[in-house]
């Protein structure tokens, strides 16, 4: 930390979220990450004369679905505008975006603040626009290379109010957003692949009203780097304010780029004013009416969102904060858990099912380096195993053995138990016979035990279990053993 009086950092987040459609926003060309350069292009993307944009309905639907999950209001009529600027990754010379009638406004994302208390970060707007191409710059060279595959892919730009008050809050905001879109299935939300990109707008406020100029940081490709960039900017701006008197009044807004190797932000340019984009209504696209029926149907179709699900797991199912977090981290795992919970006679023991998943299942996935979709075991299968244990039909050793088998084969544990007579032996007569046989076979151990060697008891117990092929009810075996040993 610097020796100067610390201010209060304020961050507003701009997130560009690539929506998971088959085709681009305004033309029927597919987009996928990692394709050979300039193979996914069409006349609209290239800005060829006479080419006309045609809006993708699914892009609008996914944008609305995401906006609703963020608590936004959806516009009754929305329209697109041209944002004019020259850049080699934008052949048309303008980006089709939305200016004064965005699709979604006034939402919020709930996060935890640095003390763990719930906090709402307000969302000002979320609008649907097209992505630009991707450029790379030869190190120290005189040329830049442009790949236009990404140009025209649908982007939802989500703009928050400057409600974020720390690097930690910013990171949790992004994590929450990524988690929400994963549950919705509206975007892959992968920062490395660029389908979630974020630009924090950062400045620092001081007692007495002094403010540093707002800095937008670009080129952040991980949540961690967003946190680091905010910490770096807080210090840098605090220093510039105290040492050089740099304030919002005497210095324009600027854009800085994150240098991952050095862990610093680097000045790129002072911002063009909004006027210079010369927004005007896109003449090639009519505005679109969104009926309230459509909005309500989309609202109905929203899944339970991760934060609400975690609260339910804690409050209604009695899981710990940690368990609820693990089980909701991935929507696929959470859905699997939900299915395993649903038994024929109502909800199964939530903690028991959770333990199997967190212990055996996740360990298996980790060891085999596979994901859940590749596992043969069905949630119903795990549910049966839990039921068999709960009813005392099998002991814990049999349960674990069965788990290892059915996770590979996907067979029904209940059917296997019936077929192989793996059921736990709880019949008193059978257990007594086994214990007597064990005492005969381990006569020396019996003598030793009676002479005061407590440890010898374990050998007799083990022998009795062996007589029962490992299926004896351990509690009952112990009980009978105590009686017969006297």
């Amino acid at each position: 930390m610097s020796e100067h009086s610390a201010g209060r950092v304020l961050v507003g987040m701009e997130v560009h979220l690539q929506l998971k459609t088959n085709t681009k926003c305004f033309s029927p060309t597919p987009y996928r990450y990692g394709a050979e350069p300039n193979t996914l292009i069409d006349p609209v993307v290239m800005g060829l004369p006479g080419a006309l944009p045609v809006l993708n309905r699914e892009a609008v639907r996914l944008a609305i679905r995401t906006g609703l999950a963020l608590g936004c209001e959806v516009a009754e009529v929305t329209k697109w505008d041209r944002k004019n600027y020259f850049y080699p990754d934008l052949p048309k010379g303008y980006q089709i975006s939305q200016y004064d009638q965005p699709l979604c406004i006034d939402g919020a994302i709930e996060i935890d603040d640095d003390d763990g208390n719930p906090k709402r970060v307000r969302i000002r707007r979320a609008h649907l626009e097209e992505d630009t191409g991707k450029s790379t710059h030869d190190e120290g060279g005189a040329a830049s290379r442009v790949d236009l595959n990404r140009a025209g892919a649908p982007l939802l730009e989500i703009v928050s109010e400057p409600d974020i008050a720390s690097a930690g809050e910013a990171m949790r905001y992004l994590d929450a957003l990524r988690e929400i879109v994963a549950y919705l299935g509206t975007s892959d939300g992968n920062m490395q692949e660029g389908n979630l990109r974020c630009e924090p707008n950062i400045n620092v406020l001081f007692d007495g009203g002094g403010k540093t100029p707002i800095v937008e940081v670009k080129n952040l490709n991980s949540v961690r780097n967003v946190g680091l960039a905010i910490e770096y900017e807080t210090e840098r701006q605090t220093r510039a304010y105290h040492e050089r008197g740099q304030t919002m009044e005497n210095t324009p807004r600027s854009t800085r780029g994150w240098d991952d190797d050095k862990g610093v932000t680097v000045h790129q340019r002072f911002k063009e004013s909004e006027d210079d984009y010369r927004y005007f209504p896109e003449p090639d696209l009519p505005p679109v009416t969104i009926t309230r029926d459509f909005v309500e149907a989309e609202r109905e179709a929203l899944p339970e969102l991760p934060r609400a699900r975690r609260a339910r797991y804690r409050e209604a199912l009695g899981l710990s904060e940690y368990d609820a977090g693990v089980l909701t981290a991935e929507p696929a795992l959470s859905a699997w858990y939900e299915q395993a919970l649903a038994g024929p006679e109502g909800t199964r023991d939530a903690k028991a099912v959770a333990n199997w998943i967190q212990g055996e299942l996740l360990r298996y996935l980790n060891d085999q380096k596979i994901d859940l979709a590749a596992v043969a075991l069905t949630p119903e299968g795990l549910g049966e195993l839990v039921d068999l244990r709960a009813a005392g039909s099998i002991n814990s050793r049999t349960a674990k053995d069965l788990f290892r088998e059915v996770i590979e084969s996907g067979a029904s544990p209940a059917a296997l138990v019936a077929e192989r007579r793996l059921g736990q032996v709880s019949d008193r007569g059978a257990v007594e016979a086994a214990v007597r046989a064990a005492m005969e076979a381990q006569a020396k151990a019996v003598e030793a035990f009676r002479a005061g060697n407590e440890k010898a008891r374990g050998r007799i117990f083990g022998e009795a279990m062996k007589q029962l092929s490992g299926r004896g009810d351990p509690q009952l075996v112990n009980e009978v053993l105590s009686e017969l040993l006297g």
Partner: protein, 100 residues
């Protein structure tokens, strides 16, 4: 809006047009006449209609998310002044100015 030479220079810069002082001098009055004409059009009575936008259409009228044809990359790259390995090559346009 006052159409003066300063505005002409600004518009030229935004449009990446290089104008000589003579051209700026020549264009300013021309642009002023065009704006006067547009001003007259703007005085027309058009009722409630927003003259800048069209009538809205329903979601149903939009395009389904089905893939269509893509352009042949070679034919597109052929139009470019320079390309290499499938990429368009342009003068380097990303300048980092390191300060402080």
């Amino acid at each position: 809006m006052e159409i003066d030479e300063g505005l002409v220079r600004k518009i030229a810069e935004l449009a990446r047009l290089e104008l000589t002082e003579e051209e700026v001098h020549e264009i300013a009055p021309q642009l002023r006449r065009i704006f006067e004409h547009v001003d007259r059009i703007q005085q027309l009575e058009v009722g409630d209609a927003d003259p800048a936008t069209q009538d809205p259409i329903d979601l149903d009228a939009l395009r389904a998310d089905d893939a269509g044809e893509t352009l042949d990359p070679d034919s597109v790259l052929r139009n470019a002044p320079a390309h290499d390995d499938g990429f368009f090559v342009v003068p380097r346009f990303f300048d980092e100015e390191v300060e402080d």
